[in-house]
């Protein structure tokens, strides 16, 4: 079965990422203990959890940056563990990752950064690549003069936008965002939320977002995955508010949680 379909609420939803029995840990300390997770096509999934519960490790495990101890991870219906390099490249073409600090290549300009994936996979004319870079820049709301700048000349928020533009360069099916609004002022964070929502709608993206920002969760996500007790609990924000687990209660009903409501 390719992709896998789950019948939920009478609607067919395609499972785009399927994690089963994931075990991760350092030494004899377990971070994830047989964790299961489904991500559906076209949804925005927020991943939350206390510090050190392995949110980023989960993201890194899915994109293959972290060697998992056991379990299976299927992306686009294929188990990533059994793929050769060429097959993995086919998958890597279809996802984009925005790292916490943007991870822009410091020796290249922003336009060149966005063109890196294009250059890697396609034989495009420089003109077309310039046009695409310019289009992606305006998509993520960066001014035109940012194109010729180097990453060190940009502010934190602009770096994240540029990182997002690079992640979107190949029009991926899924984007992974690692704490996209951390370190941004509330106004920039709001704008980033809007941006993610808009792009998700217009590009029909699936978004896997690790975040701590309750406002972001409320504004952008369809479902939220909470990492507690080395497992994951998934639900909408309202479902999770009713969850009796003490950490979840504190998280969503603490002063910040209520303020974001």
């Amino acid at each position: 079965m390719s992709g896998g379909r789950v019948n939920q609420g009478g609607r067919d939803k395609e499972v785009i990422i399927k994690v089963r029995g994931l075990v991760n840990g350092f030494g004899d300390q377990l971070l994830h203990d047989h964790l299961d997770l489904d991500v559906y096509r076209g949804e925005v999934l927020g991943v939350v959890g206390g510090s050190g519960t392995g949110k980023s490790v989960l993201l890194r495990s899915i994109v293959g940056l972290n060697k998992i101890q056991s379990g299976t991870i299927e992306v686009f219906g294929q188990n990533t563990a059994g793929l050769n390099e060429a097959q993995m490249r086919q998958i890597e073409m279809r996802w984009g990752v925005l790292f916490q600090e943007g991870a822009l290549f410091s020796s290249q300009t922003i336009a060149e950064n966005i063109q890196v994936p294009l250059r890697e996979y396609f034989q495009m004319s420089q003109d077309l690549m310039n046009e695409i870079a310019s289009m992606k820049l305006s998509m993520v709301g960066l001014p035109e003069d940012a194109a010729a700048k180097h990453p060190s000349e940009l502010s934190g928020g602009m770096k994240k936008r540029a990182g997002l533009a690079r992640a979107l360069a190949l029009d991926p099916d899924v984007v992974f965002l690692d704490e996209p609004t951390a370190g941004l002022d509330p106004i920039s964070a709001n704008m980033f939320d809007e941006l993610v929502k808009d792009l998700q709608k217009s590009l029909n993206l699936t978004v896997f977002m690790v975040t701590h920002d309750l406002d972001t969760l409320r504004a952008t996500t369809d479902r939220i995955a909470v990492l507690v007790d080395r497992k994951i609990k998934v639900g909408t924000i309202d479902e999770l508010r009713r969850d009796p687990h003490p950490w979840i209660q504190q998280y969503f009903s603490g002063p910040r949680g209520r303020a974001a409501a």
Binding site: F122, L128, E131, S134, S138, D171, S202, L203
Partner: protein, 386 residues
């Protein structure tokens, strides 16, 4: 009557065809218009001829899939036709792509990114100019830095605040001196062997093998041991100084020190300068000895000169001055290496790439200066007749 001209192969993943009528034309696009085929479509679309039609339309209503690159190609084509004076109706796409089309068409109106050509004469002149100005500023920067370090030194000597960090000083001596003993010793030993071997080979022809020892003694003590040691230390400790101080700059540790009120030159630079100035003469002395041992070993095996003969000849060949001339240069080399290393460390900008760049520069500059200074010393010594 419509004629079908310019069209893609009917079995392509992304297809289009031009339907031309006398007064209007219609571009019908079908299939999957994605980034995968953008390069090919780009060329084909640019080659389309408009003819004399006054009206045009782009119809993608039967597309199976389109992404932002595909949409961009359609939008660009539309804009090109419009600027060629044609009346172009709105692009037709399946409903689900409405917001994508909106995003691409309305948010992106700026001209495409221009990447400047870096190989023009103008760019060359600009680079030369920038380089010159940078060089002048660099020189002024070094001068003012040397001035500052000198003042801090005088300050530390005349008003000892007890804050010339003794622990830091000993740490530096250990780090730059004691920990460098194995590598300096081994290399000096090998240089001694090589020098003795080559010297013996040449001098044998005149039956003057015994003078290998003179060559060894004078060569090593006056020049080579000191030079080799300074170069090793420039590579080993000069680079470490730049990297350590540079990493602290990247982590904002230097800024933190400044806000607490700690003098960075006092805490970071002075112990390194003094530490290396103490360590390097000792290292040079050690390299002298190891080089001599290497030479003696070679003389024994190659020329069958016993240790007693070796020492007797050595005593005749060298005087105390020979040794002093070599050793007196060591603190000067140390000063240069640590000054350059610390200076470049303080120049690091707040990004990781600049640490690497300046570390390289620090090593190149200090090795260069050490060799230049060594030559200058030779000239001075020959003038004053030592």
């Amino acid at each position: 009557m419509s004629t079908v001209n310019d069209a893609t192969a009917p079995d392509a993943r992304a297809r289009f065809r031009m339907e031309r009528k006398p007064k209007s034309l219609r571009l019908v696009v079908e299939g999957e218009w994605t980034t995968k085929d953008a390069a090919k479509l780009d060329v084909q679309l640019r080659a389309l001829q408009l003819g004399d039609a006054a009206e045009a339309q782009i119809d993608g209503s039967s597309l199976e899939r389109i992404d932002s690159a595909g949409t961009w190609l359609l939008v660009r084509t539309k804009r090109e036709w419009e600027s060629a004076g044609r009346k172009v109706g709105p692009i037709l796409l399946p409903n689900m792509y409405d917001s994508l089309l909106h995003t691409v068409e309305h948010e992106h109106t700026a001209p495409p990114v221009v990447i400047h050509n870096r190989h023009t004469l103008e760019a060359f002149v600009e680079r030369v100019g920038k380089g010159t100005v940078h060089g002048v500023y660099q020189g002024a920067g070094i001068l003012s830095y040397v001035g500052r370090v000198t003042l801090e030194w005088l300050e530390a000597i005349y008003h000892p605040r007890g804050n010339l960090r003794i622990a830091a000083l000993f740490h530096q001596i250990e780090e730059t001196g004691i920990n460098a003993l194995p590598i300096v010793g081994l290399l000096a030993f090998l240089i001694g062997i090589v020098l003795a071997y080559q010297g013996a080979d040449q001098l044998k022809r005149f039956g003057a093998e015994i003078f290998t020892i003179n060559l060894l003694g004078v060569g090593l003590l006056r020049e080579i041991a000191g030079l080799i040691t300074a170069i090793i230390i420039a590579g080993r400790s000069g680079s470490a100084f730049t990297a350590q101080i540079g990493t602290m700059r990247v982590n904002e540790e230097l800024d933190a020190m400044q806000t607490i009120g700690i003098n960075t030159v006092d805490t970071l630079v002075l112990p390194r300068i003094l530490g290396l100035a103490i360590a390097l003469p000792f290292l040079t002395f050690y390299a002298d000895i190891m080089g001599m041992i290497g030479g003696a070993v070679m003389c024994y095996f190659d020329l069958h000169i016993t240790l007693a003969e070796f020492l007797r000849q050595l005593q005749q060949a060298i005087s105390l001055n020979t040794f002093l001339v070599g050793i007196i240069k060591a603190p000067v080399f140390a000063l240069i290496i640590s000054l350059v290393g610390c200076y470049e460390g303080l120049q690091v900008e707040r990004n990781a790439a600049s640490v690497g760049k300046l570390t390289t520069r620090s090593v190149v500059e200090s090795v260069f200066l050490v060799i230049v200074l060594d030559a200058a010393f030779s000239i001075i010594f020959s003038i004053i007749g030592i």
